[in-house]
């Protein structure tokens, strides 16, 4: 697609010259890489397709919510009725399918953030996902992702004694997502089980040799990285993994990806940033209310995350999970029992360091004049404010000036995280 080519033309020019970004990673940037304080991990989970924030974190205290969504609103909280909103603070509540989040919220390690997202006005999935992943809303020429810039830009975080690991940044996806694309080395894999060459002995060595030598182009560089990563993973022995603390992951692809991220963390492979995504949120048609299509997705989403938290146990002291989606959905339901593309959305932050047990973000209201363009939840928190707080206070970055160029975090009146890194 032209747009993507345009964004990446800088990288492509280098490839043409025989110098790929991967090659650059190993020379120019390698020396500058700094690491987070030992053991700190950020897990970013992307709900692709624009999750319906108003039905995830339900503003049951808003009468307008119920008038605008006669067919799909989540009923007001009713004690003992599991088909109603789970009340959080008398005004907001969780979708009943997010029940697995409730104990985390009560324990004070989960915080919803409402009316958050990209300031861009776009309602295109592709643009909005690009902006969320590039971290530069309305600027299409950015070619790398913000997570990668965090990894690559010198001085973002404190020095660390862990040697460079090919698993420093891992995406549990078959393709490298834009958010992790860029100069810093990253690994993408659909699953850990897939990550092995189906040959042994000298054949593997020869295959490795095919990529060790020759030109430093895109294909060779990818191959070189792969064989390095392979050796490390083999030593971690992923086949013999068992979840701890009685955690049970859903058998869904998303659940399995989270189980694998947990494995990587426990294997001590130097994982610092992990990414996974989950689709099916683009609920234009028949999204359902307390049950139905969206509820099914939310159940898998929350149960997978809750299992991850349980499995990691005390390790959650060093881990922070951040969920995100490209935008929210229209405040009103549409003509097909669903919701069309909207504006502000909601995120969840989960971890011991999170100032949980309350809903963060300034609530803009749902009255007609309070809606963005008269139709969508208005934005009160730029997602970069959240990212900045996480990168500085959790990951220990000195500055995020190069991660979010030109962005000055407005007024973080709310404290998402407790204490410093």
């Amino acid at each position: 697609m032209r747009r993507r080519v345009f964004m990446k033309s800088g990288a492509l020019a280098l490839v043409t010259m025989g110098l790929s970004p991967s090659f650059l990673r190993r020379s120019a940037f390698a020396a500058e890489l700094r690491r987070a304080p030992k053991g700190k991990v950020l897990v970013c989970l992307f709900q692709r397709g624009a999750a319906d924030a108003l039905n995830m974190v339900v503003p049951h205290g808003e009468a307008a919510y119920y008038t605008m969504r006669p067919g799909i609103a989540i009923p007001r909280p009713k004690r003992g009725d599991t088909s109603t909103t789970i009340d959080l603070d008398g005004f907001f509540g969780l979708h009943p399918a997010l029940g697995a989040f409730e104990p985390l919220y009560r324990d004070g390690i989960l915080a919803p953030i409402h009316a958050v997202g990209s300031p861009s006005a776009t309602r295109s999935h592709f643009d909005a996902q690009d902006y969320l992943e590039s971290g530069t809303p309305d600027l299409k020429s950015t070619r790398d992702g913000w997570l990668n810039r965090y990894l690559a830009v010198s001085g973002t975080c404190q020095a660390c004694d862990v040697p460079a690991s090919p698993f420093r940044a891992v995406s549990m996806t078959s393709q490298m997502p834009r958010i992790l694309d860029g100069n810093a080395p990253t690994v993408a894999m659909a699953s850990l089980g897939d990550f092995s060459v189906r040959a042994t002995g000298s054949a593997t060595e020869r295959l490795e040799g095919l990529y060790r030598t020759g030109s430093a182009d895109l294909v060779h560089a990818s191959g070189k990285e792969m064989f390095e990563a392979l050796k490390m993973l083999r030593s971690a022995d992923p086949q013999r993994y068992r979840a701890e603390h009685g955690a049970t992951y859903p058998a869904s692809p998303f659940g399995q990806r989270l189980a694998e991220i947990a494995q990587l963390i426990k294997a001590g492979l130097g994982l610092e940033v992990a990414f996974a995504d989950v689709g099916g949120w683009d609920t234009h048609v028949n999204q359902g209310a307390a049950t139905g299509q969206l509820a099914t997705r939310l159940r898998d989403f929350s149960q997978s995350i809750a299992a991850f938290v349980k499995d990691l146990g005390p390790r959650m002291d060093n881990v922070l999970i951040l969920t995100m989606s490209e935008f929210g959905r229209m405040a009103r339901q549409n003509g097909s029992g669903g919701t069309d593309h909207g504006h502000a959305g909601a995120m969840f932050a989960i971890g011991s360091q999170v100032s949980g047990g309350r809903v963060h973000g300034k609530w803009p209201g749902l009255a007609r004049e309070q809606l963005y363009e008269g139709r969508d939840l208005a934005l009160t928190t730029d997602f970069r404010s959240v990212f900045t707080e996480v990168l500085t206070r959790h990951m220990g970055a000195d500055t995020t000036a190069k991660v979010f160029p030109g962005f000055v975090s407005g007024t973080p009146a709310w404290e998402l995280l407790r204490g410093g890194a």
Binding site: H125, A203, T204, L218, G223, M226, A259, Q287
Partner: protein
């Protein structure tokens, strides 16, 4: 060595007398223009899915220009092989309604059977369900089979290109699969080298696209006038309701009133912008094509009523529903569309979009990326876009301007493209001279490499550039694919299918390596690659002529098509087809469909392991080499 200046490639037949050139020689002209052998490899890799055995020589004999000319006129090429391959899929030529009856979804069967099932009934149900899944496998398999066998290679490449440009997702809803054969056969294929406007119009009216991007359920907002008075519609609904109530009293009535009310409640009741947005952003103008959110809404309004006749046996094609059409005036891209034109208005919108300069540029750029390089020059794109505009989107003329350009035959473009997974698999089968695999295994391998056929959720289609396809995981899958081919585990793409296999098996390593480089690596490999292919011995020469005596185990291949190599849920005869990945929403997401591997951690390395030795190992290494990943 005969060097042919690029500018002469426009002359028919000028390249025909090059039989003396040694294929496989390292070109002495790395910095200069392409040799004739390189040019032949180049066109076979770009206008086709790679050479079959002997094909480079045949193209050189025909002449590169003449071969291109022929490919641009596919009807002049007889194509018995593809017809034969396609004849193995007789079901795919049936209309959607017939397919629905032949391969009903298990749920439908169960309901039809009612509550009580005998053992025999259950068995029959299971068989039916299996047949239904096999049908989805056939759809995917037929695409690979045609790409492998067809002599009309450019038509196959363009089919791949347009099916990707106008992508639809099999998992969108349970009915999508029945639309796919007709979508490919009647909507895409007839127009691949025709007029862009015809293609755009055929897509816009196809049940597959109307469903995939929700236009089928987009209706005029209640504040807008339609072409049919609301009172009349209301009267019809009430009449139907009364009829159903009366009918429901009778035993055996087809629809009870509760079902009817539920159907009525699910009736579309408003505008859906999904198709309109992607029509502008992806299909025509491009994301920077200069349209606004208001244009999206106005286009959506103009296309209200463009829908599919619901669920009838004889006719489930395009249907213009006047009662759903927003009949008020619209302004699109600054042009006024007067009220009340009905279906013609949508046609006029498509005319406007197809003729728009932004569309010419968008399509020109995307084709240049596909055929020339990941970063084509502005000059080339301008030139191609101009041809697009001057010929009113004549795709043959557009293609001709690309594949006869100096840039196309430049050294910089040569082997600069990274193959997509589809191209990796199809080119491997072709290089081996393999036959089309009539099981769904080869198609499943394409999925395994990251590009499931009809499995891309988002409307932007698969990437056309190498940086998107290349990462550590991708290269791993490709290496494993090569090993699976070499260990004879892939029907239709077994190393032993290679016509030279028998002769080469007992040959000297040098001869094996030369042949592998010629067949798989475009005739030349880096000295490093060659050295690695050369290392090791041939056990057949060292220790007798039997396989059993070959204990010089270079490798133990664990990969198995039945095991780790296959995404279990997509395997024919087991697991569900990928529909559950989707849902009745628009799946408007950018991430790619990943086969559902419910428990990848515990996927055992199933299947007998077989040591890779001698020629097999050479083939495995060649297919795993960086050179094979490019075209």
């Amino acid at each position: 060595m005969i060097l042919v200046p690029c500018v002469t490639l426009g002359l028919v037949g000028v390249l025909s007398s090059v039989g003396t050139e040694r294929i496989g020689a390292q070109s002495g002209a790395q910095q200069g223009e392409l040799s004739t052998s390189e040019a032949a490899h180049h066109v076979l890799n770009r206008l086709g899915f790679g050479p079959r055995p002997g094909e480079v020589e045949r193209v050189m004999k025909t002449g590169v220009s003449r071969w291109i000319d022929l490919q641009l006129q596919p009807r002049r090429i007889t194509d018995a092989a593809a017809e034969l391959a396609l004849s193995r899929y007789p079901d795919l030529s049936r209309p959607p309604a017939a397919l629905r009856e032949m391969f009903p979804r298990p749920g439908v069967l169960q309901r039809a059977a009612g509550g009580q099932l005998s053992a025999a009934d259950s068995m029959a149900l299971r068989d039916q369900a299996r047949a239904g899944r096999a049908f989805v496998g056939q759809i995917m398999s037929a695409r690979v089979a045609q790409a492998v066998t067809s002599e009309r290679q450019l038509q196959e490449v363009m089919t791949d290109f347009w099916l990707n440009h106008f992508t639809v997702f099999v998992g969108k809803n349970p009915l999508m699969r029945y639309c796919l054969p007709a979508y490919e056969r009647e909507v895409i294929r007839p127009h691949t080298l025709g007029k862009f406007r015809d293609l755009l119009g055929a897509v816009a009216k196809s049940p597959a696209m109307l469903t995939y991007l929700d236009n089928a359920i987009s209706v005029a907002d209640s504040t807008r006038p339609t072409l049919v008075s609301r009172e009349a519609t209301q009267r019809r609904v009430q009449f139907a309701r009364r009829a159903v109530r009366r009918g429901a009293q009778r035993p055996g009535a087809r629809v009870d009133s509760a079902t009817f009310e539920r159907l009525m409640a699910r009736r579309p009741r408003g505008l859906n912008e999904n198709y309109a947005r992607e029509l502008l952003e992806l299909h025509t103008l491009g994301v920077d094509g200069g349209y606004t959110q208001q244009d999206v809404i106005e286009v959506a309004r103009a296309l209200t009523g463009w829908t599919v006749r619901p669920g009838r046996r004889d006719d489930d094609g395009f249907f213009f529903n006047a009662a759903a059409h927003d009949a008020a005036e619209k302004v699109i891209l600054g042009k006024r569309f007067p009220a009340g034109r009905g279906e013609d208005e949508g046609e006029a919108v498509l005319d406007l979009l197809a003729r728009h300069p932004a569309t010419a540029r968008h399509i020109a750029h995307k084709l240049a990326v596909r055929f020339v390089s990941d970063a084509p020059s502005e000059a080339l794109v301008d030139q191609v876009a101009e041809v697009f505009r001057n010929t009113e989107g004549d795709l043959t003329a557009v293609l001709r301007s690309i594949v006869t350009s100096k840039e196309f035959f430049s050294r910089a473009a040569y082997r600069s493209k990274v193959k997509s997974p589809f191209e990796v698999v199809v080119s491997a089968v072709r290089a081996l001279g393999g036959t089309a695999d009539s099981t769904a295994v080869t198609a499943a391998l394409v999925a395994r490499l990251g590009q499931p056929i009809y499995g891309h959720q988002a409307p932007d289609g698969w990437p056309e550039t190498g940086d998107e396809w290349m990462n550590t995981g991708a290269i791993l899958n490709r290496i494993n694919f090569g090993l699976a081919v070499a260990s004879n585990r892939i029907p239709g793409a077994r190393a032993s299918d290679w016509e030279r296999y028998g002769v080469l098996r007992g040959a000297q390593r040098t001869e094996q390596v030369d042949a592998a480089i010629a067949a798989f690596l475009g005739g030349s490999a880096s000295s490093d690659t060659r050295e690695i292919l050369m290392s090791g011995t041939n056990p057949l020469l060292a220790g007798g002529q039997t396989d059993s005596g070959a204990v010089d185990v270079d490798a133990t291949v664990e990969m198995s098509v039945e095991g780790a190599n296959m995404p279990p849920r997509r395997r024919p005869g087991r697991g569900a087809p990928p529909e559950r990945q989707g849902s009745p929403d628009s799946m408007n997401v950018r991430n790619r469909f990943v086969p559902d591997r419910t428990n990848p951690l515990r996927t055992p390395p199933l299947g007998a392991t077989r040591p890779l030795t001698g020629l097999d190992l050479v083939i495995g290494l060649a297919l795993g080499a960086p050179e094979f990943q490019r075209r």
